[in-house]
Symmetry: C2
Subunit: 344 residues, 2 copies
Amino acid sequence: MPQTTEINRRIVLKQRPNGLPDENTLGLEEVELVQPADGEILLRTVYLSLDPYMRGRMNDTKSYAEPVKIGGVMTGQVVAEVMSSNHANYSAGDYVLCGSGWQDYFVTDGTGVVRNLGKTPENPSWSLGIMGMPGYTAYAGLLKIGEPKAGETVVVAAASGPVGATVGQIAKIKGCRVVGIAGGSDKCAHVVDNLGFDECIDHRSDSFAEQLSAACPDGIDVYYENVGGKVLYAVLPLLNAFARMPVCGVVSWYNLSGLPEGPDFGPAIMGTILRMKVKVQGFIIYDSFPESTYQEFIGDMKTWLASGRVKYKEQIVNGLENAPAALNDLLTGCNFGKIVVKVG
Amino acid sequence: MPQTTEINRRIVLKQRPNGLPDENTLGLEEVELVQPADGEILLRTVYLSLDPYMRGRMNDTKSYAEPVKIGGVMTGQVVAEVMSSNHANYSAGDYVLCGSGWQDYFVTDGTGVVRNLGKTPENPSWSLGIMGMPGYTAYAGLLKIGEPKAGETVVVAAASGPVGATVGQIAKIKGCRVVGIAGGSDKCAHVVDNLGFDECIDHRSDSFAEQLSAACPDGIDVYYENVGGKVLYAVLPLLNAFARMPVCGVVSWYNLSGLPEGPDFGPAIMGTILRMKVKVQGFIIYDSFPESTYQEFIGDMKTWLASGRVKYKEQIVNGLENAPAALNDLLTGCNFGKIVVKVG
């Protein structure tokens, strides 16, 4: 059933998943549409962003954000249109960026609205990608923690995803040798041919570690960490002295329900950090950088997109009801570029 | 056989150890004493420092320093006396700090000499400890990477050792709650009663992790890492948002001959770094900080020692021939304070 003007469809967390989410994890509910009171606006979701962090919110563990409650609407950023407004700052037809989650409609007094995009944003869905959270995550993590210098080698996994693709293209702009890692020859070809990375290694290959080593003849100076797992373990022996590792995600581990079998790579991780004087720093884009960094990002990224130095690939999924399957595609690496759900 | 004036005794690496060094690892050789040529000096070792990093130098792995060669003299810092000098910068009777290793005598043109301590240094062996490498390691790692703020909780293991004891005492001076970790009730009592830590937990206790958690009711803001292993794994769930972890050593893992059995704590380490936005940074005291940091250290530490705000405990082992056994004591946590070998 598509978006209507009478009913609010919403996807809620029915049960915390053990491993990859399954048919018992999320459920679609229909509730009556509420009209906005005085001082409130009614938002209609146009695009919903899907991102790896969503898996973490399904867990009941201490993290940087509250877990989604059982029965609660799944967290997510959306681009929405203001349908009717009783609020001085918004008028019908405005597009806004909002954290209202996996649902058709949202009534708010402005709480949750991140930004008013105006009535005619050029690429409204880009606010969920290259000009939004994933783009800013790539920019700030790479430049402020990774601090790449011209001539250094930068390695990034999930290289065809919205963060990885942006990290690599920015590193190329900064004069680095850039080696991507992706799953499958199609993605690898895209990363080299369209995004301009120097090389891209298929992590599904049996000789992945050897190929990565061969692609980094001068070692690795910056490893932008977004996957963890065997990619991280292949990177460790290649890190140079004073290497930097911004930690943006460990998506290959998000579905773990406990610690995996050994051997224990703890000594390899910590021993490498010690011997090679590596800096490893986790960050969350919302609270790890000052506002000035965000302003730099917006300015630089607009320039790079306009000049074609940064290219951006979106994959549009139609229908809110298809969001759960698309999230699993994302968590298992079956997507290609930034996934956005066209809700209405 | 003690130090004589005719023979140079030296301890060499016979074979790389697999695990803890044993009787096949190191051997004592006697060679003829060489006299200094023009431009050279003859040094007689008075004190030899024993430090955990020495185990790493026995391995043939990529690290921050060259491994000791098979048949080569074991690396180590010493305080030595100039016996005779054909060099303009030194005269007989000067004490020097020198990296000449595990031997009675050393002839040099000045190469390897770190500092001239003059003819009457107040506590010559302290240049190997509180006023030298271990003291500086504690100071710079804690203050420049750990950046402790008043009211925060700082945790340090090997709390009765020369680095850990200094870290904790400096953290107390900076107004932090300080929790030490040590092996055995004697060490723990010393750390609290004599060094002024708020608490000290015995890592040999079955309820170690629970006791550590209870001792850190507000979580951990700075974990000064020098041991790795189960201490690190007990610390991880207690780390606060934006915690800092200077990595100075992982001594509990130095004798590993391969990765230990599972489970794999890699996901726990990296997941914590991500979620809690932790900064983990390895450092080597010789090349990770500017000269200005060293000057700050010398000034602050002299003041603190003179006022009694920092206390320092040495354990003197007599005789070069007893150094191998004393190093093993150090690697297995059987020492108590800074170990210095009185060679002559």
